[in-house]
Amino acid sequence: MFAIASMNGLVIGVIYALTALGVSLVVGIMNVVNFAHGEFYILAGYFSFLFANALGMPIIAAMGLAVALVFVFGLLVEYTLIRPTYGDDMYSLILTFILSIVLQNAYLFIFGPYPNKPPGWIKGATNIFDLFFYGNQRMAALVAGIAVIVVVFAMIKLTWFGRIIRAASQDRGMAELNGVNTTRLNMLSFGLGCALAAAAGVILAPVFPVTPTAGVPVALTAFVVVVLGGMGSMWGCIIGGLILGLVENLGAAYLSTGYKHVFGFVILIMVLAIRPSGLFGRKEA
């Protein structure tokens, strides 16, 4: 049981890390918490379901298209809703919260309350070290999640765009002085944050089907991960995501299934009480 729970924790932890990276990116650069993050995750799940099942596209193409569309949707949301709120953090919180409720209800209206599931990529299960059989789809999700994270890290560490992102999250004013177009940077990073949620969504949707409100616990966990890891810290997201995934699944296995999602909040409370700036957070703003 320990081995299976750990494996589940690892898979879901990687997805949490991926979702949290999106939140963290946007917090670091724009100081905006996107409370509709989970709904972007779900949107990508619905898109991939729609393209693959209804339009009969190959699953990889459906996934790619879903992520691209959510990215564009993210750009649009930034342009229409978030951009006018810069300098007023409160309104961005209110707007994204309302947006999340609107999207949940729109999904309910369009797709109904029933779970929808895009087709899996591969079938069957693999015997892991003679310990247990593990679904190939979950293994593939793990690999895909890690791959996306590696790509994101490479982009942040190696490319020109990544350098600007790092500079802006260190000191916005300084980046602006050095001629960075922060308006475009904001738009791109918000879109990218949404695309990361979308990537997590398309990867996990074949394992955990999407429902209109299924994004809420995912987003909440991502927020906990971001606080645990330290606002704006990328490594914090990875470590935090893995910790959350493992704690939830081991907790569910040994303590209580019903309280699975509460364990994350226990961690949140502990972090706030003991080290509120998080594992990798900077002490001072």
Binding site: D89, F97, F109, P217, G258
Partner: protein, 319 residues
């Protein structure tokens, strides 16, 4: 020299008389209507309590709590459980429920308020989710989604009596908000909302100021929730849900964040509207959401803000 202090301070006797007259007419209103409309009025008053107390936090100190409905749930469930399981008098339940909401508010605030605004939003959202999970899991005590049946506040159930109870509750809430906002603490609230750093440089203890607003706001939500539970006679997890949170937030934003009458206007107009479009089923939430999104984006001060801008233009035109 006259100095106007605070936008909505009642200055003149005619204004106070007008308010009292309006209140008197409103207090007689339920005698002229059927049971269904009486119910709508009572629910309006419940949302007035919720929106006005949420506004105290968001509108006057700039802190967004997503746990306001959850604190109403704390008030309702604590009172309901104590009355059902321990045989407490329902009024005693309401008092203890309110105090519990205050205590939870204080603890949650203590935990996250020193870290700034975003943390309060995240933590209250998390708190709201935990509460939901606990209510659903502790079925033996809370009856889960079936709902907890609780006795009423008065022996003989009467809408009119409940109307006056809720009217009193709403007036208490509004009085607390008014007193607080127009006290010295109210100056600190608004200073913190406008600019935290400048406020602390002038001697404002920012964390304590936020904690005060958050605790009072949560206590008022607890009172509203406890009263609501003993009115509906059934407490379900729908009370502390994000849907309810969203409704309260939308009412405040649409009515006018940071204005005294805004939440009252928002609560009444949205609740009455939702009764009319109830036929659309669940989709009325979608409609409210789109309206709230539109208002928050294009008229961030809500109906009151639109009215003030219009009045300003009108005065400029006639002057």
């Amino acid at each position: 020299m006259t100095i106007s202090l605070g936008e909505s301070r009642l200055k003149s006797t005619p204004k106070i008389l007008l308010c009292l007259a309006g209140l008197a007419v409103f207090a007689l209103l339920p005698w002229t209507m059927g049971v269904y409309n009486q119910h709508v009025l009572i629910v309006c008053l419940f949302y007035t309590m919720m929106a006005a107390s949420w506004n105290l936090l968001a509108g006057y100190t700039g802190q967004v709590s997503f746990g306001h409905a959850a604190f109403a749930g704390i008030g309702a469930y604590v009172s309901g459980i104590l009355v059902v399981k321990a045989g407490l008098n329902p009024w005693g339940g309401v008092v203890i429920g309110t105090l519990c909401a205050a205590a939870f508010g204080f603890l949650v605030g203590l935990l996250c308020l020193r870290m700034g605004g975003i943390y309060l939003s995240l933590t209250t959202l998390g708190f709201s989710e935990i509460l939901h999970i606990v209510i659903n899991n502790e079925y033996e005590i809370t009856r889960g989604t079936m709902g907890l049946q609780v006795p009423g506040l008065i022996e003989n159930y009467s809408k009119i009596a409940y109307f006056y109870i809720f009217l009193a509750g709403a007036l208490i809430t509004l009085a607390v908000v008014y007193r607080l906002v127009h006290s010295n603490a109210g100056l600190n609230f608004r200073a913190v909302q406008n600019d935290e750093r400048a406020a602390s440089a002038l001697g404002v203890d920012v964390v304590r100021t936020r904690l005060l607003a958050f605790t009072v706001s949560s206590a008022l939500a607890g009172m509203a929730g406890a009263l609501y539970g003993h009115y509906m006679l059934l407490i379900t997890p729908h009370l502390p849900s994000l849907d309810q949170q969203f409704l309260v937030l939308s009412m405040t934003v649409i009515g006018g964040l940071g204005s005294f009458v805004g939440p009252v206007i928002g609560a009444f107009s949205l609740e009455i509207l939702s009764e009319y479009i109830r036929a659309w089923g669940e989709y009325h939430v979608l409609v409210f959401g789109l309206v709230a999104l539109f208002v928050a984006r294009f008229a961030p001060k809500g109906i009151v803000g639109i009215y003030k801008a219009w009045r300003g233009k009108y005065r400029a035109a006639t002057a």
